[in-house]
């Protein structure tokens, strides 16, 4: 098997995540799809690192993970406060800046 197949898998996962962001209405599920896309990118980085024979790709993937962790913390806090004010986690309901 050619290791390029990992890249195809990463592309597929990224596509599924992007489609999920467009399709789903629930803010939490949308957020999970974003995480899926980030993970697909990480896989691509790791495979590129193996391809080029240096560890820079793994470092970038590591930074992506750290940033994703920070992003999840803030994003979920935003979802919780949205839910408190609107009693719904649907992204369609949050069409106004202010209630």
């Amino acid at each position: 098997m050619n290791p390029v197949n990992y890249l195809y898998l990463a592309a597929l996962l990224f596509t599924i995540g992007a489609t999920g962001v467009l399709i789903r209405r629930n803010a939490i599920v949308v957020f999970m799809c974003i995480e899926l896309m980030l993970n697909a990118c990480n896989l691509a980085f790791v495979v590129f690192s193996r391809m080029h024979g240096n560890l820079d790709g793994q470092i970038i993937a590591f930074f992506t993970m750290v940033v994703a962790a920070a992003e999840v913390v803030v994003g979920l806090a935003i979802i919780v406060s949205l839910f408190r004010s609107r009693h719904s986690a649907s992204v369609d309901d949050a069409s106004l800046m202010k209630l």
Binding site: N5, L9, V73
Partner: protein, 280 residues
């Protein structure tokens, strides 16, 4: 191991692992998107992430594989599940489209995007794989540390600032200042009396219902289940079990058989139905 990693083509074992776990990852990703309940989506995503961790390990990223399991499936998915439990119980995904045909357009554009990506990778000349044998010679963790604390040390320090900002931001976002005094128990009781509804405590579940689990509604004197007896969360999730009709129908069937055996005049069996079915 290093010889295998340097090879242009992977070993049969890795190929087998890729095809098996890769399909698991794809199924998990699809389930994340298409599962109705947010909890199921989160579990499917956790499965996909574990598979990705195995792939990192197979690609020579030993440190990242472990970090993936600890940070992603351990911390981030935990946080997701926590928020799903906090928020998602009553948050049903609305199936009404706000923009007409948006779902199909999204699927079509997703398909197009996927084809574009795959074709791009297929066209790129990715024939040479150097492998990590040389880079991992002194150990993967040591190699990453050497890079992280020399070439990327500034980015590493900025990351610390980012993490602190995120923690403070989350605290500020979820903190709620209390603007009015909390009501005392006496005031709450007076308010209940003034409003005049449900003065006594709510009825207990399972009363007269032959079972006393919390998800089984208590029965009113006429045999119909009372929704008030079951907790609000279970009611909104639609997880109330109603076994009263089965029991009553069993009893009715037994009586009918007894009548037939005794050759008495047949009683017209009136099957009990659930209240929501009967109201239709």
């Amino acid at each position: 191991m290093s010889a295998q990693l340097a090879a242009y083509s992977t070993s049969t074992g890795e190929a087998f692992q890729f095809w098996v776990l890769g399909s698991v990852a794809l199924i998990g990703a699809l389930c994340t998107v298409f599962m109705k309940k947010a909890v199921h989506s989160a579990l499917c995503l956790a499965g996909t992430m574990i598979v990705l961790a195995v792939f990192y390990l197979a690609n020579g990223a030993y440190f990242l594989g472990i970090v993936q399991i600890v940070v992603y499936t351990g911390a981030i998915m935990m946080l997701f599940l926590f928020v799903v439990m906090l928020v998602g119980v009553t948050a049903a995904d609305s199936l009404k489209e706000t923009i007409k045909g948006q779902r199909w357009l999204a699927l079509v554009s997703g398909l197009g995007f996927g084809i574009l990506l795959l074709a791009g990778i297929g066209n790129a000349s990715l024939t040479e794989f150097d492998g990590l044998g040389q880079a991992n010679a002194n150990g993967n963790v040591q190699g990453i540390a050497a890079l992280l604390f020399t070439k990327y040390v500034f980015a590493f320090e900025i990351t610390g600032a980012l993490l602190i900002t995120a923690a403070v931001g989350a605290m500020v976002l979820t903190h709620r200042e209390r603007t009015e005094r909390a009501k005392t128990q006496r005031e709450l009781a007076e308010q209940r009396v003034r409003e005049g509804k449900h003065l006594p405590p709510l009825p207990a579940p399972g009363v007269y219902a032959r079972h006393n689990a919390v998800d089984i509604a208590g029965l009113l004197p006429d045999g119909t289940p009372s929704e008030l007896t079951v907790s609000k969360t279970l009611r909104e999730r639609g997880q109330i079990r109603d076994v009263s009709t089965e029991a009553l129908n069993d009893l009715r069937a037994l009586e009918q058989r007894a009548e037939e055996r005794l050759e008495r005049t047949e009683v017209v069996p009136a099957t009990f139905r659930r209240t929501e079915e009967a109201s239709k």
